[in-house]
């Protein structure tokens, strides 16, 4: 236990004296690991292997594609066209952003990839249309988490394998709650737009709309290309991210003619920088998690909850709190792998449907992605906007309430998750 205290205290102190979060995570883990029986050189090996995952490589791919689109004229044309169609509605662009995240979530199994793909285009668009930057960032970070709820979903696949549930059924169970959470976010966006009375743009003529849409046609084709490419089985999401890169380069160079070599060079450098920032955090968070797992901390807490829960509601509240705390530091897949096997017997005793519980767990994992100190969606958004994580967190707070509301509704109404499952 003392080593765990060293871990947590040194982590917070390091963060507060402005050591980068990635280094704080890594350094505090090194301190803690040196207090237990651990051969230290293997730490760097763990960092290396946690970065070497082709599934994670969709993140740099979509970041790269997103920056090319925003600097190469594609985003500009796309935003102009979108504004001409819905700019005169209050909250219109926010709704577009949420829909875009939902559509993207339907092809990608990862939340940070979703936030990266949509954020690089839509945040600048929203800011230009008069939304506050903080709100725009929070919206993308929150709506991006739908990536793991709306199928396909990497965490749900892992859940299915560990719990012996049909992955197809789990995917089906995620559909309604995914749409439901998306709808809640949309309602909150409409209310927010009403309250803040965001400027609306003058309504544009049909002629003007068609002209702008024609110009933006190349941008509209991209999502079709990616969606189609993945759904028809031409490529995996990771590969799709790089095909999007190729497509964006071609369109920027030959159609919009805005891509010059120095600009491209800057884009590459920025993509590497943001990816490196995110992956150093992933690598360090993995050592942090490795320490906790070795010391059996999450396992012990889960067992304790299991042994002290007397009724189903106490259990559900305790388990949601546990997921919240673990979600602060660990990634979704680790949390499932560590806690689910221990929870399965109790879920049977309390007669909680495993598909229903999967959705509860996944929404908790979504919250984890926007909960500091380690929230990948926060970092992705902070990376593409160059805003501090603190500002992103402030932007996310209202959406936190929305997602928790959704979580409570999903817990209370199992029909939401089980309705479509036959």
């Amino acid at each position: 236990m003392s080593a765990t205290l060293v871990l947590l205290i040194s982590f917070f102190v390091l963060c507060l004296i402005r050591v980068p979060i990635a280094v704080s995570l890594g350094l505090s883990s090194l301190f803690a690991l040196s207090l237990i029986d651990f051969t230290m050189y293997a730490v760097i090996q763990k960092m290396f292997t946690s970065v070497s995952s082709s599934a994670l490589m969709a993140i740099p791919g979509f970041i790269f594609a997103g920056i090319i689109m925003s600097r190469g004229g594609i985003s500009f044309a796309l935003i102009e066209a979108l504004k001409s169609w819905i700019g005169h509605f209050r909250g219109g662009l926010a709704l577009v952003t949420i829909s875009a995240c939902m559509i993207f979530a339907a092809i990608s199994g990862s939340s940070p990839a979703t936030a990266a793909a949509i954020g690089a285009i839509m945040i600048p668009a929203m800011v230009e249309a008069g939304y506050s930057k903080r709100y725009s960032m929070g919206l993308v970070a929150a709506a991006g988490t739908l990536g793991i709820l709306i199928p396909p979903s990497i965490p749900l696949i892992i859940y299915g394998v560990v719990s012996e549930q049909s992955i197809g059924d789990l995917f089906t169970a995620g559909i309604l709650p995914g749409i439901f959470l998306g709808a809640l976010l949309m309602i909150s966006a409409i209310i927010n737009a009403r309250i803040n009375k965001y400027d609306t743009l003058p309504k544009e003529s049909m002629q003007e709309r068609i002209r702008k849409s024609r110009k933006a046609i190349w941008g509209f084709i991209l999502p079709i290309l990616i969606l189609g490419g993945i759904y028809t089985g031409i490529m995996t999401p990771t590969e799709a991210s790089f095909v999007a890169v190729l497509y964006s380069v071609i369109v920027s160079v030959f159609v919009y003619k805005e891509m010059k070599f120095p600009i491209f060079r800057g884009i590459v450098k920025e993509s590497i920088n943001i990816s490196a920032m995110i992956f150093l955090i992933i690598a360090s968070a993995n050592i942090f998690g490795m320490f906790l797992t070795t010391e059996q901390i999450p396992q012990s807490i889960t067992q304790w909850i299991e042994s002290s829960s007397t009724n189903v509601w106490v259990f559900l509240i305790a388990i949601n709190l546990l997921f919240f705390v673990l979600g602060m530091f660990l990634d979704a897949v680790s949390i499932i792998l560590i806690t689910l096997p221990i929870l399965l017997p109790l879920l049977a005793i309390f007669d909680i449907n495993l598909l229903h519980f999967a959705i509860i767990m996944t929404i908790n994992m979504e919250l984890g992605m926007i909960t500091p100190p380690v929230g990948l969606n926060l970092f992705v958004v902070s990376g593409i906007t160059r805003e501090s994580v603190g500002n992103v967190v402030k932007g996310v707070l209202p959406f936190y309430a929305v997602l928790i509301l959704g979580l409570i509704a999903v817990i209370a109404f199992p029909a939401l998750s089980l309705g479509l499952v036959k």
Binding site: L35, I36, D37, F38, T39, Y41, A42, Q45, K46, T49, S50, S52, S53, S54, A55, G109, P152, I154, I157, I158, G160, V161, V162, E164, S166, I167, G168, I230, Y231, T232, G233, I234, M235, T236, P237, T238, M290, T293, T294, Q296, V333, S334, L337, I338, P341
Partner: protein, 321 residues
Amino acid sequence: NKKSSEPSATSSNEVQEITIKLAHEVSENTSQHVGSLAVKDYIEKESGGKIKVQIYPNGQLFGDKDVYQQLVANNVQITQIDMAKLVGEDTRFNIPSMPFLFNGDDEAVKFWDSEKGLEILKSLDKDGIYGIAMWPNGQKHLTNDKRPIKTPEDLKGLKFRTQGGQVLEQVFSTLGAGSTSIPFTELYTALQQGTVDGQTNTFVNIESKKFDEIQKYLTVSGETRVDLGLFVNKKFMDSLNEPTRKIVEEGLKAGTDSARQAAKTMNVESRQKLEERGNIEIYELTTQEIDAFREAWAPIYDEFSSIIGEEYIEAAKQTNE
């Protein structure tokens, strides 16, 4: 802070108080986990609780990518590794991937228990790892969602996923099929969306990973195998005194017996489950059909027998007699 896995010298006839970490990357409904539990039960019971065995399943601590170096570093003391992942350490670990080399589990076990088999398992001694025994997962069978596979020609033009490695790549390319390596987290979606047409795996893996939900045809081909090596850190083992070492060794034996038994029954059970669920059309190859495949794959033996070592291939073949 006493290093638990490097016990200090105690009186040499007393069982040492230690904690052993055992990590594996598969879920708890597998023969590997059954075997791991048997190791734990035996050792904890026989040592009167002095030795603790902590199991980390599901790759929650270390998985296929890092467990090797973590075992070398003694951050985990016991693990099982898929031999297909070890071909980069020693090409002889390609043996389970050689088509139709063994008739079944018993023959494979017989080979790996023989002098030649143990020689290969012990080849990792140089890195500080003891190879103890082979734990079978079983024969692999082809699944795909394009057409029932009955002849080698049926594979032509299909795209398969493999765990990687040159022999497995050749198994497909020889028959005009393509192969690509896709990580497990992306495999279910890749099969569902058709990025690859099929894969090959044991009944247990096909059933527990739900591939019958997204694949139409299963051919009971048993063309290649998944076999694991049970490995233990050498420094740890050598640090044990006589009575402690004996308990650990016996525990590993108990685990091996139980894992081997479980692999057999679980593959039978999984096949039954697949049949009951009825999502996937199961076709069992006849002896003649298997012979056609055997002939089609003969070139693989021409190419890889010398790389692996003729004497090992011969010794493996002899187990079938």
